[in-house]
Symmetry: C2
Subunit: 258 residues, 2 copies
């Protein structure tokens, strides 16, 4: 049987430890091609590059443990997937995996996440896709515990097919391997960020700001990704790019527009 073709990307950049681990795991399951940003693109959401040029270079990052084919790209995570599918790959990949992100993409973070936007972009183009994130922001996080879980989820996805119009958002708790209790299918918890802007003055006397904030969980449900992660489960949220709030259509039809 022909090996599956696996497209790997991320938002932390092609040299980040998270994607290097993901590449190693994926090489056990199929043929791997990497198209990933040439530098950090965290928080890029679903940005695409329409007013600037894009570069892509075939490179070797890790001769021994890397993929057979790797490209870095000057664009956003969504750009990387577009460029992979339309320009760089010879055939349609069987699956696209994005990550492993250095940090959580659970609940509302999915909206801001470059990792998930890359996966969603692949989903829009009809490719089964999964974003993986480890709830550990350290650059030197231990990704080894994640290997078996990730391979299991990718294998099941290849075997069963991911439902059409759906992309999986997988978050892995920061916990030792033996502490992880299992994998839970969840819904996205209701949450937001309480921003604080750290206001400073630059050497020229001009005020500037750094965006900081605190995560605020607004959801007490036990079927959410936040609950799963807090209880040492891996969370899998089926995520969609049809943003229509179908339940609101009837209510809005009662408005007086005439």
């Amino acid at each position: 049987m022909k090996k599956p073709l696996i497209l790997v990307t991320n938002d932390d950049g092609i040299t980040a430890p998270g994607i290097r681990a993901l590449i190693r795991y994926m090489k056990e399951l199929g043929d791997v091609v990497v198209v990933a940003p040439d530098g950090p693109q965290s928080g890029q959401g679903h940005a695409i590059t329409i007013d600037n040029t894009l570069f892509a270079n075939k490179i070797v990052v890790d001769k021994k443990h890397g993929a057979s084919e790797e490209y870095n790209c000057s664009g956003t995570p969504a750009d990387c997937v577009k460029m992979a599918l339309q320009e760089l790959l010879d055939r349609k990949p069987d699956i696209c995996v994005s990550g492993i992100n250095h940090g959580s993409n659970s609940s509302i973070n999915v909206i801001y996440s470059g990792t998930m936007s890359a996966a969603i972009e692949a989903g829009i183009e009809g490719i089964p896709a999964i974003g993986f994130s480890l709830c550990d922001y350290s650059w030197h996080a231990d990704f080894d515990q994640a290997g078996e879980i990730i391979k299991k989820i990718v294998s099941e996805s290849l075997a069963n097919g991911i439902p059409k119009g759906v992309v999986l958002n997988v978050n892995i708790p920061k916990a030792k391997k033996k502490e992880i209790k299992g994998i839970k299918i969840c819904r996205q918890a209701r949450a937001n960020w309480k921003e604080k802007f750290d206001k400073r003055t630059n050497p020229g006397g001009k005020d500037y700001y750094w965006l900081t904030g605190e995560f605020e969980l607004l959801d007490k449900g036990e079927d959410t990704d936040e609950w799963a992660l807090a209880n040492n489960y891996v969370s899998v949220v089926p995520t969609q790019f049809d943003l229509t709030a179908h339940h609101a259509i009837q209510q809005l039809n009662g408005w007086q527009f005439d």
Copy 2:
């Protein structure tokens, strides 16, 4: 009665004709504060600025027709809303309106749209919010036909309240005022972009790319935004930021993870 406080933003930048028209219309309905990007931010999706500094300046763009208070901001549309709500405004706005975008944000374009991301960011923070787009990419588009429609939709939103967790995505067809047949509540049409990368070589001999593409409608439904716009209706899609594909949870629970 106290006038409503209306936060106005966009993704084409604070001097774009679309936002200047929107400010004029909103001044007829309430007190207006503008916080908008200092330059074009199209295609920025839900990007936020986490690895860079942000600037915001109180400015006067148009003494006669502008708002009483206007700020330009160096960040993305989502940054502008965060900064408005947490740092620049004295009180919580009653509604946030984004646009008028120079070009369509119908169907899958909602994912890439800075205009809609600004509105969605306000929605996440619990503010009723609407993104407005005119299906005319010209910088010198005629926004006058849109004024009555926009005021009607904002007035109804203030009167009825927008359902919780829902943000309105309004697209206005490129048509003369008398040709517009009415306002339709719609679902987001299934569609994607067939990208083409225009490959060129720079003076230094290095290849680079421009992202181009063609919109591909995959949906024949007559309840979609694309159908409405093609038939000269204004489309209103209730849009949500809970991305959970609830219908897929049961199916995924059948997977073998143990």
